[in-house]
């Protein structure tokens, strides 16, 4: 399944300072849908190159990280159990506090 992943608010530093990643992620088995849970596990093992604790806590994102699927907070679309569709755009953004 083709997805566009974007990292912002400093999370890009965890994946070699690349903000936008065009990726193909396969569901666990052919008939199953790809969920956010699967995608997070994939991102952690395939994209995050350092300090994984700055991205995840347990099996979900760490506090202070917003997940946006097609410009919408994932909490409005089922959160970690949300099923992804072909060509979805998933944004991971850490909140900023500076000024």
């Amino acid at each position: 399944m083709h997805l566009t992943l974007e990292f912002g608010g400093g999370l890009d530093l965890l994946c070699q300072s690349v903000k936008i990643h065009q990726v193909d992620v396969a569901p666990k088995d052919e008939n199953a849908k790809l969920t956010m849970r699967d995608l997070l596990a994939w991102v952690r093992s395939s994209l995050i190159k350092e300090r994984p604790e700055m991205f995840m806590k347990g099996d979900t994102v760490r506090p202070g990280v917003l997940v946006l699927v097609n410009d919408c907070d994932w909490e409005l679309c089922g959160g970690i159990d949300m099923e992804l569709e072909e060509k979805d755009v998933v944004v991971f953004i850490s909140t900023l506090h500076g000024g």
């Binding site: 760490r62 909140t95 900023l96 500076g98 000024g99």
Partner: protein, 467 residues
């Protein structure tokens, strides 16, 4: 209040609050007296010369027309009044509103400039910092002449120079849980233009308790974020972030840098949201987040979750009260300080593995065989460095152990005794982490320079640039 139980702090706080109230009342009396004397002057002039008085009242700016605006306001804000969507109604609402801007820094600068020039009735500014030279590239409200003076004083002076007809209130103190309720209660709308995490939780909680809309902006590096909390049924800060992020995830402008115009853009958006809410026009960013990526000039607006029923601040069974707010430890809750200043000095390694910058200078003067390893990131090293230092960033140290070995060998050449390894960084924290790592990987004699380049500049070489 039972005076017998009052602590000294409470008494001091109440005195300060009363003084502030007194000042505001005096300001208002002054304004009204000025208005009265103008009106008296106009009245006597009208008797003298019936025909010219109409013109005089048009330019003196104080006689109020039937629409609630004075001729002076009509002229000054005419371009607002010409907007069908804003007009007389919008300007009147704006001139009757009071807005508090928390933080007179990179975000707050454009916010207070626009709010002053556009004619809000009362503009409050709260900050306890002083203006520093390295603020000026982004904190555009402060003139060079105010370096070393209170930011609030500087910002208020600039705003008064732009618009003398509005009421500007200076709160030259840090906004804290102990004084936030009293200060914020005086205003209709609050703008969070602070630079740290505990302040963001504290201001959001206070706005929920007092039922004030909150316009929250943030900027760092080349990115910015903006939303409106607790407005028209939308979420508060805690609805989105019930658990604070780990302290290590909280980057500071003083560590990570910030392109000056980025908080400027976000601050302008904050001013826009504040003006819309105060004048009751348009649709705010409540329930939406604006994300700015300056490098690609992209602005993305995303839909956020709604108000959480379980929110401890604004939910159905909220536990937050004015009583427990005043004593809540926001710095402890977030494990972060209420400022953008340098992180605390760590003490990771024993004193025997550390030397002062003066002691290191003695080693140089005595030509002791040595190697100086600078573990700052490469872009820091390019800003300034001690000439003999070799740069291997901390993050790459594990892969470059053999390089350290060969450099140390080179340093021993022409000497009868072995060379010693010294480690330096900006402030003396990363250098300890490096020594900790090196001592476990074959460099048991490695030592770090206490206080890093900051202490070098302070104690050894006053001409050494600090950043």
């Amino acid at each position: 209040m039972d005076n017998m139980d009052c602590g000294v702090d409470d008494i001091v706080r109440e005195i300060e609050k009363l003084k502030l109230d007194k000042k505001e009342i005096e300001n208002r009396i002054g304004q009204l007296e000025a208005l009265l004397s103008k009106k008296d002057g106009d009245a006597s002039q009208m008797e003298d010369n019936q025909t010219s008085s109409n013109f005089n009242s048009m330019v003196d700016g104080h006689n109020t027309f039937y629409n609630g605006l004075t001729p002076g306001m009509i002229y000054r804000y005419s371009r607002h009044l010409l907007l069908p969507d804003f007009g007389v109604e919008g300007q009147k609402n704006l001139s009757m509103s009071s807005i508090l801007v928390v933080g007179a820094g990179g975000l707050g600068s454009p916010v207070v400039l626009y709010l002053a020039s556009c004619g809000v009735g009362c503009l409050g500014i709260v900050d306890s910092d002083v203006v520093e030279l390295n603020n000026l590239h982004r904190q555009i409200v402060h003139p060079e002449a105010y370096v070393g003076q209170a930011k609030v004083k500087s910002a208020a002076a600039t705003c008064r120079a732009i618009n003398s007809s509005i009421n500007i209130v200076e709160h030259n103190e840090a906004l804290q849980a102990s004084n936030a309720l009293d200060i914020i209660n005086k205003y209709d709308v609050v703008v969070d233009a602070t630079d740290n995490l505990p302040s963001r939780y504290m201001i959001s909680d206070c706005c929920v308790l007092l039922d004030k809309p909150l316009i929250s902006g943030a900027a760092l590096g080349l990115e910015g974020q903006l939303t409106v909390y607790h407005h028209k049924g939308g979420p508060c800060y805690r609805c989105l972030f019930p658990i604070p992020p780990p302290a290590a995830a909280c980057q500071r402008c003083s560590d990570s840098g910030v392109l000056g115009v980025v908080p400027g853009v976000i601050g302008c958006f904050q001013a826009l949201e504040a003006i819309k809410i105060a004048s009751c026009i348009g649709e705010s960013l409540s329930g939406k987040l604006l994300i700015l990526d300056a490098l690609s000039s992209r602005v993305r607006i995303v839909k956020l979750r709604g108000r959480s029923l379980h929110c401890v601040s604004c939910g159905e069974n909220a536990t937050l009260s004015q009583q427990n707010f005043r004593t809540f430890d926001y710095e402890g809750f977030t494990q972060s300080p209420m400022s953008d200043k340098a992180p605390p000095k760590l003490s990771l390694i024993s004193n025997s593995a550390r030397i002062s910058s003066r002691e290191y200078k003695n080693l140089i003067d005595n030509h002791e065989p040595r190697m100086l390893l600078d573990v700052r990131p490469a872009h820091h090293f390019r800003i300034t460095a001690i000439p003999e230092a070799i740069n291997i960033p901390l993050s790459m140290l594990a892969d470059e152990i053999s390089l350290v070995k060969s450099c140390l060998k080179d340093a021993e050449k022409g000497s009868t005794k072995g060379a010693s390894l010294y480690v330096v960084c900006r402030r003396g924290n990363d250098s300890q982490r490096a020594v900790e790592f090196l001592s476990k990987n074959g460099f048991s004699g490695a030592k770090d320079i206490i206080g890093g380049l900051e202490s070098w500049a302070q104690d050894v070489d006053p001409t050494f640039p600090i950043y």
